[in-house]
Structures are given as C-alpha cells and as structure tokens.
Amino acid sequence: MENINNRKHKQKTIDQCGDNENKNEKNTTENVIQESCKNLKGDVLNYSNDKKTNKITNHIPREEKTKFLRINFEIDLLSVGLFLCGLLTRMYKLEEPKNIVFDELHYGKYVSLYMKNTFFFDSHPPLGKQLIAAVAYLAGFDGKFKFDKIGSPYPETIPLLALRFVPAFFGSLIIPASYHLMLELGLTQWTSLLAAILLLLDNALLTQSRFILMESMLLFFALFGIFCILKFRHYYSRPYTPLWFFWLSLGSVSLTCALSVKYVGFYSICLGIAIIGRDFWKLLSSSTLSDSALFVRFVVQSVTAIFISTLIYLCIFYIHLNVLYKAGPHDSIMTSAFQASLEGGLASITKGQPLLVAHGSQITLRHTHGRTCWMHSHNQVYPIRYPDKRGSSHQQQVTCYSFKDVNNWWIVKRPNKHDLVVEQPIDVINHGDVIQLVHGITSRALNSHDVAAPVSPQCQEVSCYIDYNVSMPAQNLWRVEILNKDQNGESWHTIQSLIRLIHVDTNTALKFTGRQLPDWGFHQHEVAADRIINQDDTVWNVEEHRYTKSEDQKERERELVTAEMIPTAATSLTFWEKFFELHYKMMFSGTESVQNHMYSSEPFEWPLMSRGIAYWVSSTSNAQIHLIGNLLLWYSGTIGLLIYFVLLIFYLLRRRRLCYDLDENTWEQFQLIGELFLIGYLFHYIPYFFVERTLFLHHYLPAFTFKTLLLAALIEHIHYLNTHIFKVKFFNYIFILLISLWLLSIFYVFLKFTVLCYGATPLTTNDIINLRWKDTWDFIVHKN
C-alpha cells in the first residue's frame, strides 16, 4: 500500500504545476484505492462469513457489476462491543432516580398527552416525543400521571423504564455510529475506536441520554445521516445504482428525522448538503461527463432527497395532528378555527352555531394571532385626564379581555336597519360591507375618533359611543375586510373568516396593541385603531355566534346570559390548514418567558464548560444529577480545535508558496476532516450567538460531538506526522505513551464524575466540594 501511495505522490507532485483539469479523475481513482486499502486492513480484523477474495473483488474494480440477490454479511465485533458498552453505561440503573428529572417535566407531560390524544403545543417538532410515546404505549402507559414539578416521585405504576428506554437506546447507538462514521472517512480503526471511546466517556452525553430528553435522538440521527451521506459519496462513480439510491435516501431520512426531533437538526442537514454540494462542484470539472448528464444527475439527486425529506416530515406531522384530536391545555394559542376542530373544548361550544354572520348576529370577536383575548366593553368610561395630562373622550372603555365573559358579546348591525331580529332571508354580511357593532349588554356602538389611545398615543382611541352632546359626533361605521376570502368566499363566516375592521371615517384598523391598561381599565388589554393596517394584530375572527331572536332589549340580555348551544356539526380543518397554522405558531410564538434561569449559560461559556445544569437532587441526601461534561475531554477538544486551525493555516500558507509538506492523499484527508468536523462544529455552534432564547449547556452537545470527532482525527494526523514526516521513532513512542496516559486520565475523570450522572450515591458535603473543580460550578448541597 505504501508503495502505491508513494508512487502516486511523486507523480502527483510532478503534475502539480500543470493543469488542474485531470485532478478529479485522479481523485476518483484515489478514492477507490484508498477504499480498497482500508478494506484490506479492515478485513484482518473483521469476521466475515463471506469469502475474503470475493469481498475484495467486490470493491476494487468499478467495472464490476453489482450482483443482485446476494447478501454480504459482516459483523464488526468492535462496533458491537462499543454498542454493548454504550448500553451498559446508559441503561445501568435506568430507573433511578424514581423522580422527575429536569425537562422530563415537559417531555414526560407531552408523552402523557399523546397517550390521552390531547392536543398540546410545543415549539419543537414532534418525532422525539412520538418515539418515546410509542414505546410507552406498548408498555401500557396510561398517561394519567401528572408531571407537576421537578423532583416529585413517580408512582410504582408508571413504566419508567419504557419511558427512558428510547433516549438511552439512541444514546448507546451514538457510539457505534460515530465509530462507523470515522471509518467511512478513511480513518484507521484505531482512530475510529478512539473517537467512539471518547464519546462513550463523556459525562454530559451519558447524563443527557439517560432521561426523557431529546438530544440523544437528535445526535444519533444527525451522525447516522452524515454517515449515510459519506457512504453515498463512495458510489459517486456509479450513479443510479440501487446502493446509490439507498444511501442517498437513507441519509435524507435520517437527517429529516434529526430535524423532526429538534429544529437544530437543520444545521446537520446543511452540513449534509454542503458535503454533497462540494463533491458535485468537483464533479463539474470532469471532462468525461456531458452537461446534460450532469444536469440530470443534479436533478435526480436533489429531487430524491427533497421528496423523501418532505414526505417523512409531513408524515410525522400527519401522525401528530391525527393522534392529538382532543382539546387540551394549550388550545388558546391556536386560532378559533383550529380549536373548534378539536374534540371537546371550543368545539363543544361552537358546534351547531350558524355559519354566516348577518345583520342581527350576536358574536364574540377574538384577536386571532398572538395573545388570546376577545373584544370587550363594560360600563366604565375612560378617565378624563391621564397622568401625562393628555385628555380622553371620557366615553365607554373598549378592551381586549382574555377570559370568556358576557360582556364579550357584540351585535352586528347594518347602519340603516333598526330591527335586530334575524329573519329569512338572512341578510349576510359580505367583504367590503359597512356595519356597526353594538355592545350586547350596554347597547352602545363601537366608535373611534381622532383622540389618542390611552397607552399607545400613536393610535386612535376606540370606545363605545356615549352622546354627551358635545361637538364630538359618532363615528361608528366600520368596513369589514375578509382576508381569506379566496378560500372561504366573499361572505363573513364564523370562526374561519379572518377579518379586519376598518374605521370608515379615518381609514384606520381596529387593533390589539399588546399593552395593558392601568388600574382604571382593570389591567385588561388596550384596543385602539391604527393607521397602519397591514399587521397581524389587526386580524380578528368571530368565535361564538348566534342570531338575535327577540327585539326586546331585556329579553336579548337574558338570552345572552343564559344561552346554550345545541351541537350538531363540528368544524373540520384539512391537514394542510392545520399543518401550516401549527408551523406559523411554532415560528412566531417562540418568545417564551425570558426569565433568568439559574443554570442558563451563554454560548461563549460552553467550550470551557463554565456552568453545568442541576437536573435533580434527592430530597433526603446529597445524591444528585448534574449535567457536566468530562472536563479533561472538553478542554482537550477545545485545544484540538485550535491546533487543527493553526495547522490548517500553516499548510495553506506553505502550499501557497508551493511547499507541499503533505502528500496529496494526506492533504485531502486533512481537508476532509476539517470540512466535515470543523464546519460541522461551527454550524452547530455559531448560530447560538444570535439566539435570543434562554440557552443551556446541553445546546452545545451536537457541536461538542463534532469537536470530539475532530480531536480523534487530529490525533491520527499528528501520528502520521510523527511516522512519515519527522520519522523519529522515539517521538512516536512518546506520543503513543502520552495519548494512552491522556486516555487513562479521561477515564479517571469520567469515573469520578459518574456519581453525578447516575445520582444513586449519597454524597457528603466534602465529596461535593471535591468535585467542584471550577468555582463557577454550582452543585447543590443540603444544609445539614
């Protein structure tokens, strides 16, 4: 093998100064040779039930046709061993502690809601929760347990093992997956083993995999997806073969799964695309392929990948939306239409109400996007003067109220008609019609005028008009604009029509401003009229609705207070409507309470692990679970990153001056690990600097994984430098010795901190102080 490489190298350096045209051809042959070498090496260790010769010929010549209906079966004992080690560490005492640990609070709750088919809202996509729910379902979990607060004990009846099984299983799979990923990159088995062991010995990964949390699934799918993409590269010279399709599809599936566990999986997808894109770019320079062949290939590749990804993603949401068909705790985030499509909840109220809003309709108007509230009015008036000395109209307040109330009812009225009873034929309100809105209880009409609103002075005040007989005429005409008239037709439908009310005199739109009124407005939300019409906060829809039957004011009031609905038919939304609404809400409701969590951290603190997260502490002893990585490993990883970076710059500068320190193969290899791991690291790390949410250490785990893989690959590179460039055997021995020592110390650190992963050992205060290696780490110590 050495000989081949050397010869190649010489030839290469001669060619170097010449044209670059043929470069790619060489690359492909090189790839094949590289691959065959690896297989030769690998075979010594691999147990294969196939004949060796057969296997070799299977790989080397690319002219060889793949034979159908033939199964090559091989087991890599190392890989199996690693997997077992993973299972052993991850599954050990899996049911301990029998308490809710950290975010199990959320995810556990979601899983139990799956069991009950109850709709919930989460800004992360559902795959991870679905997987856990599936296993929990098989184990007979009934979802009755209330996940109320961190630390509360699980009852005996709950199948805790099943709930925690999925994350632990995927957490164990990460280790062999990384091993194969490294092999696939053309690194030696030793290096691959080293990488896998490093990941095995990280405390943070261990802790994160043992509870009902998402990261282990995310990581596995991401790594496996990248692995498939690397496999796929090997079939570059043989496009359209079954295996070519197989690996491309499997890669897309796996990466989409990563995306569907958490949206950070998107960065893994970007990495996958970057790898494929880079290869394709190189392929462009090949002179053997025609333009059309390349174009077809590009199209086939992208269409396959996009089609499969979309399909998987849609399927996951299809299941999600179909399983969760009952109304639940998070309904109010969604629009009325969505809520009404769920069983129970709003649906039981709105079922059977008339569909079309007409003259004489009694309605409640809901603010559609963002905060849930209904337009409301009550007998109180705006104060004459505000504290900042601005005046008001002193008319009746109009607000947006977040609770159901009899004062939320309004009656739709045409300006020229006075009889409110709805008679056949029904006088339906259409897009563009001008109406008045009369408040049901006080019988005053919704009005706006050129007076500054109480809290948002740039907008106009909205009130219910009281005639004080001063020179302030009623301006109570509103034009109805139906936004989605293309889907639902020109007439005003309950629940489904999204409308804007445009004040006719001033051409302003009725708007929920998002601000709260002071004491005098009972801290309800302000409603005003804004000149800027095109915004989300000016969108409203009718939620509850019925026709007025009696003309008498007293009678109407009684009707309003006592009315009950007879359900007849449910609102139904198509999958697509639900799908897009859910995504809209997931995008824009992301601003959770940005309260300072005690264990939150900033991205720049992660590489040196300044802070861990306390996951759980026993109420009786100091036994606790704390997410903290293997300090030595994290530091080495960060240093490795720097060394790689410096080496890269050094080589690049030298090459620019035409000094080729590495042979072309090694340089390719060196570049490749950088393109994969360094870029992967940056992709999964840099975006966090621009995120506004509260961040935690576990957000760094994907980046950390890439960093660790880079470290292992870098060690191989340094070993190569030792054996091929410096050629001093002594140094090499020292290096191997040092690496072994370093690995031993990593193992030692791992063992020392496992108490914080399993949380089964009661610790004394002294033990904890001994573990506190950095004074920024905050472990929990009970007093006495």
Binding site: N507, N534, E692
Partner: protein, 697 residues
Amino acid sequence: MGEMAPEAANSHKSSWWLIFGAVCALTLTTRFYKIAEPDHVCWDETHFGKMGSWYINRTFFFDVHPPLGKMLIGLSGYLTGYDGTFAFDKPGDKYDNTSYLGMRVFCTALGATLIPMAFLIVEETTQSITAATFAALLILFDVGILTLTQYILLDPILLCFIMGSILGAVKVSSRRIQEFSVSWWLWLIFTGTMLACCVSVKFVGLFVVSLVGLMTTADLWKILGDMTRPVTATVKHLVARGICLIMWPVILYITFFYIHLAVLNRSGNGDGFYSSAFQSQLIGNSLHNASMPRQVAYGALITLKNHRTGGGYLHSHYHLYPENVGARQQQITTYTHKDDNNKWLIKKYNTEDTSGIVVVRSGDLVRLEHVPTKRNLHSHKEQAPITKKHFQVTGYGENGTGDANDVWRVSVVGARDGTEVTAVSSKLKFVHYLQSCVLTTSGKQLPKWAYEQQEVSCNPNLRDPNGVWNVEENVFEKLPNVSFEVYAPSFLERFLESHAVMFQGNAGLKPKEGEITSRPWQWPINYRGQFFSGSSYRVYLLGNPVIWWSNLGFLFVFVVIFACNAIRQQRGYIKSFSEANKDKLVACAWLFLGWLLHYVPFWAMGRVLYFHHYFPALLFNSMITGIIIDYLLEEIPKFFGEKFGNVVYHTLVALVLSTVVYSFYLFSPLTYGMSGPNANEPNSTMYGLKWLDTWEF
C-alpha cells in the same frame, strides 16, 4: 491604458474630467437645493441636534452610539455660530433665529461626497467610465439617499466614511498605484482614518471594517502566491497594513473618546448611567469635589448604589407592602434620586455598639439599619412582589432591633475575605445569612403603592449580575475625610466603562410587545418609508422605487451571471476571461460581499431596527447595478451584429438614463417637500405615485 497613444490618452483624460465634473455639478445642485427647508426640526434632528448642543454646552449625556458623529455636528454648529441654546424638543419645532443651517450644510456636504466617491470606486475597479457614471447617477438620483443626507443626522456622516473606506481600500490594491509609493501610503493612511471614523460614528461601521479586512487578506494572499516575489514582500505588506489599518485606527478611535470625555465635563442627564467614581469627575455633580472617609467603618451612615447601569439607591420609607404582597412589612425599593430616605447605618450583626473604629471587611456579617425609620434590612421566605422566584426584602424591627433574618454577609467582589470595604471603589454583594440569597434589584417598576420605584428582592441565584452595590456616600466622623480625587478613574477606566454602558444600552433597545418595528425583509423592496416632517410641509423618506426595484433585479442578474461563469469555468469551457469582463465581475463580487455584510447581520438582530439601516447596503447595491448595466450594454449589442449594435447601445443608454432621471423628477417632491392633501386622496399631486398601499405620504 498604458498602450494608448498620447492623444487618445489626452482625450480620454479630458472626457473623464468632463463627466466627473458634470456628476459633481449635478450632485451639488440636487443636494443643496432647498437645504434650508423645512425650517423646523425634522425627525431625529431632535436627538442629534440636541446632542450637538450638549457638546457646545459641555454637558455630559449618554447615547448608544460612539461620539464622533455628534462631535462633528457640534463642531460644525460651533464654527457656524450656533450657540447651543436651541432645545430641539420635538420634531416640528420652528428654528426661528437659530443658526441651524451650518449643521445642515455640513451634513449635506458629507452626504454629497458619496456620489463622486462612488464614481471613483467603480472607475478604479472596472476601468470603465460608463459603469462609474451609471453607478454615480443611480446614487445621485435616489430620493431616499437625498432625503437622508439633507438633515442633521448621523447617517450622512456614516455613509460618507463608509464610502471613504471602500475608496481607500480600492485605491490601495489598485494596479495603477505603485506600492510603497507616497500616494500609496497616503491612501493606506486615508483608509485607516476612514475606518476609525466609521466605527466612531456608529458600531455598524464594523461591517465595513470586516469588508476591508477581507479585501486586505485577499490582497496579501495574492502577493503571497506570486512566486516571483520573496516572502519578505508579503511580510512588508502585512506590517504596513497592520500599522495603518489596525494600529492607526485604534489610536484614532481612542483619541475620539478622549476628546469626548475631555469636552463633556459638566454634569448632565447622562450621569445616572455611570458609576459613582465616574460621576465624581463631572462638574456640578454632587459627587464632584466631595470628600469622605476612604474606609467604611461600623457606625457609618452610607448610601448604597446599585451597580447596574442606571441603578438607583437602596431606599425605604414609612409605607408597608400592601395586602397580599408578601408580608405586610415596610417597603424596600431602589430610587434613582438623592434623598434622605437612602441613608443606612451599618452595624455589626450582634451588637448595637458602634463606639471605636472598626472597619468593615469582606466576609463580615452585618446589619443595615434604615436611618429615618430605624428598621433593619430584612428578608424572608416570601415571594418578591414582581419577580416571583426571588424572596421579598422588607424593613423590619423597632429602633434597630429585629431578628436573625436581618443578618447579611457582605463580600467584596473579586477580593479575598478580610479585604477592607472602601467607599465608592469596592463592589459589594450582600448575601442573606440564613436564606443564602443575594440582595438585588430586578430593575422592574413596582405599582403605584410603591410610588413606581424599582423592585428590590433577594435572589437565591448568587450569580445575579444585578446584585452588586457600592457605597456612594460615607459619613463617619472618627475617620479622616479624603478628597474624592483619590477615586478618580483613569482615562482608560472611563473609556472602558463608557463601552460597557453603551453595549448595555444597545442590548436594551428591544421592541415592546405589540410595537411594530421595521423588519429587514421590508427594506430592499422599499415597503414602507419614514416620515421626516409632517403637517403642511411633508418630507417622507422613501427610496426611488424605480431604482430600488431594479437594483434588486440587477442583483439577481449579477448572481446568475456570476454563477454561470463560475460553472462554465469549472466545466473548462472558459479558458480565460476577457480582462475587462473579469474586472467587472470581480468588482461586483466584492460589492456583493459588501452588500451581504451590511444587510444580512440585521436579520439576526433582536433590537429595534429602522428603515434607514438599509442605506449602506443600498450604496453597494447601486454600484453593482451600475456595473452590471455596463456589462450588459457591452454584451447585448453583440447579438445585433456590428450594424445595429451601435444603435442598440445608444438606445439602451438613453433609455436607462431617461428612466432614472424621470423617476427622480416624479418622486422628488418626497424629499423637497410636499404640501396639500395626502396622496390617498385623488386631488393630490402625488395620487398617481402611491404605488404601494404601505406608503404613507
């Protein structure tokens, strides 16, 4: 150009001067036309005019932007006879007899330099006068840029410096200027100066710094790859640029701050944002020239100031927390004004005895007694009024005797236990002894029952960054008073503190719930403008839609052309570009990078954004358009053969020019002022021009 015959070179030169002169003349007429109108305060002039006045009056203020832009406005006002007395209260205020014109002319003049600079940049990178002329005209005839550069704002200053930096960088890497010649050095220093100025006007200047950084790296990379030259050539370049583009700007930047801090030496409305030590340097501040004991001893009367920017003094008064808000004990708040209710007596935890002189040390257990009400600072396991995760802090006890919950452990941040606590300079944390929580203020306003002062609470998370306090006043007669001068921070400390405060201020500019802010996607499509002046003389900041929308189109065309060429090159179809086309594409690629750098980062910003943030990116986009138009003008006529080619060429030129000029004529009332009815009414002169519903003129 070297091969040209002398006569051709001469005529080339004279036509260059002719075009350049015409562009300059047009620039001057459009910019200075109606410069005095409207004679009232427009839009943000209220801020920057005010800040200019403060420089003239030398009163200290706080702003999130670095000082250079405002200093220049102040200077220009000062030189043209403005005395700093006009209040600039709100937009629409009449100037009357104020001499505001000098400041406007100054800003406009800087804004006017954009156009010749764009001409020079494009001409330098593409060697094409046509491209340069188009680029310059596109900027010249954009009403948006015209509006933005006609008033007392930071933007004309910033834009001018940004273009200056690019021009310098382009000249430095130019083939036409001999490296290490005198003019090369001058351009290099010019670039460095401009970069420093950019950053000193607004921090968005950092984008252009990164662009110039990349251009420099590419330059060095090219020199390094030239095997005919030794490595030392690269090193020489590296050193030269390191000095002129890094060290020199840093020195300048610091100098600007030095001037800023030296000029503003009187107390003003910005004091409260800064630490006690900083304030002691301002004439008129109560801490100026004050004197007090250096150490804090038991029995001293002290006031405690929260170390957060704008943090108030620890405060209490004879009022209880209302029903249902924790225990009904006396309120503790922070209050930003100086008041007797801010005074506290510091006592040992176990004795009332305050005779003798015992200095408080880090790690001591202490009690704090509120002097006017004689209650101790106290905390217990009840929820704080607003921040529910924290504990409530109250005033408790009678005549200074309370219970064990009054005990706090005082520690000096970053010092070992046993360090003496000193007034002003020590940063203190008070940790509740029994609860183990840190005295802090969330900065949130309490309701009316606490007179809208700020909440004080006890945070169980001891790492609370707001839990740091310092002693500001310190009255203790047994220790000798020392002058406050000993606490005087050095320039460097003040420099760093200003930055900390600025960054905090910038991070605090978050949009509130329900507030509509301009979003980056709206900018390039000219979705919505900004009112500069209302009422009878309306000025509306809006780009010339013809230019803006075609800018986007040409941006896309450029990307397509570039990608096609790159693919063709990769496929081996193009062996070598024609020199001129290559120059144009490379120039476009750099400008495109500049556009990206000045636009994309805004997508990731959470702070309040405004329409005018897009204008630096627009300049890049217009230059790209200029070059691409020229590129297409060269390419398209080739399809028509020699006969018609010339005709087509001239038709196209005429078409482009007339469209641009005519659209400027149509939209110019936006900038030169409109009166009469709004454009949504049919009898308005602008009725036909309201192409988008979102335009509000």
